[in-house]
Subunit: 227 residues, 2 copies
């Protein structure tokens, strides 16, 4: 039963989110102003509280959407390559994440940046967050199945192995400890590189951060993932 009212409500909510995102991009998440949104829509500021109990709830909604967006971007990049082109998939995933992050720095910061203190991600955020993880783990499983050796065969501590087991079970991919370790290391590297660039740490370091990025993901593919 999607009454006329329910539809109007949905439109209102999406309009709020649209304006909120524009505002965050322009002024930062900390300067997100409900009153400004209300002004733009042409409605009393108090009216917005019929849609979001609090400003943080709006932010949460945006964060969840963003997780989903990242998942979509990364999935699409992965899907664009042939499944057996392991290296190509890793590069595509990496580059798509970087491109998206540079195009939406504030959104990236919403997810991977400084969290708002006292703010705890509600359970809803966990689902969408697993989307890009699934892409990564699927690639790792394919790497293992293709017989690619991890670049490091030192034993994995039992405590850590147990935690890996939890991940395996949760995502349903049977990945060896060694491939898990290498894959997570690659992921840490990717997030670190993108974070540093998006958050401006390369501003006085690299004239062309893209060169650094591309060299780095290439390096990781070879030296970390062994593909």
């Amino acid at each position: 039963m999607t009454g006329a009212r329910a539809q109007q409500r949905a439109e209102m909510i999406s309009e709020i989110k649209r304006l909120a995102r524009a505002q965050i991009a322009a002024e930062g998440a900390s300067n997100l102003s409900l009153r400004a949104i209300a002004r733009d829509i042409g409605v009393a500021s108090s009216a917005l509280y019929r849609y979001y109990d609090t400003r943080d709830q709006l932010l949460t909604d945006l964060i969840v959407e963003t997780y989903d967006e990242i998942g979509k971007v990364v999935e699409a990049a992965d899907a664009r390559m042939r499944r057996d082109d392991l290296r190509g998939r890793w590069l595509a995933i990496s580059r798509s994440l970087r491109s998206w992050a540079l195009a939406h720095p504030s959104d990236f910061g919403l997810v991977f940046g400084t969290p708002v203190p006292g703010y705890v991600a509600p359970a809803d955020t966990i689902g969408p967050a697993t989307r890009y993880t699934t892409v990564l783990l699927r690639l790792l499983a394919d790497i293992e199945n293709a017989g690619c050796d991890p670049t490091n065969d030192s034993p994995v501590a039992k405590n850590l192995s147990r935690q890996y087991a939890g991940l395996r079970k949760r995502f349903g991919y049977d990945i060896s400890d060694h491939h898990m370790r290498a894959g997570l290391s690659a992921w840490m590297n990717l997030i670190g590189t993108v974070s540093l660039e998006v958050f401006g740490q390369f501003d006085n370091v690299f004239a062309h951060p893209a060169d650094h990025f591309n060299a780095n993901v290439d390096f990781v593919a070879t030296s970390v993932l062994g593909i």
Copy 2:
């Protein structure tokens, strides 16, 4: 001429910074309130403007201090190891950064997290920011001099090589392109790992993030740095 007045001023400034840091830790950088600081000190809010022209200037000051603090921590960790214990130095540097970041998450976020929008780091911040870079580059130079081979000998693109040259010149360490690439990759990895943990991305992933961290820096030492 450090008159009584100058000293009082210095004390006032350090008191402001102390309270600001406490407030950022409790409420986040975005909720830093000059008025609240003034209240705590017991002075009119307008009085603070005798010390900082603007709220962002206070933030800048804190950021610069934090860069310096990170530099100190990392330098100390490095200095605690024998210079020829390359692997030990890398592990010590990595662990010290993580420990410090976990103990001062809001400070870490100030430097490596979402930047305050519209805020551009003034030239003053560049100096202290080079401190930890120096530690890293010195280690890389020592690694190269010890004859450790980088784990990847694919050619480094000319464009990137030119940017490496700028870094070499600026910091005065003569490091090969290959070692540079590996070292930066290791650094990306470290920052990524610490960021993800400090910003809470491991909350529903690793029961004991320390296990993951230690395995990861070990892995990087072997597979990336080749030490």
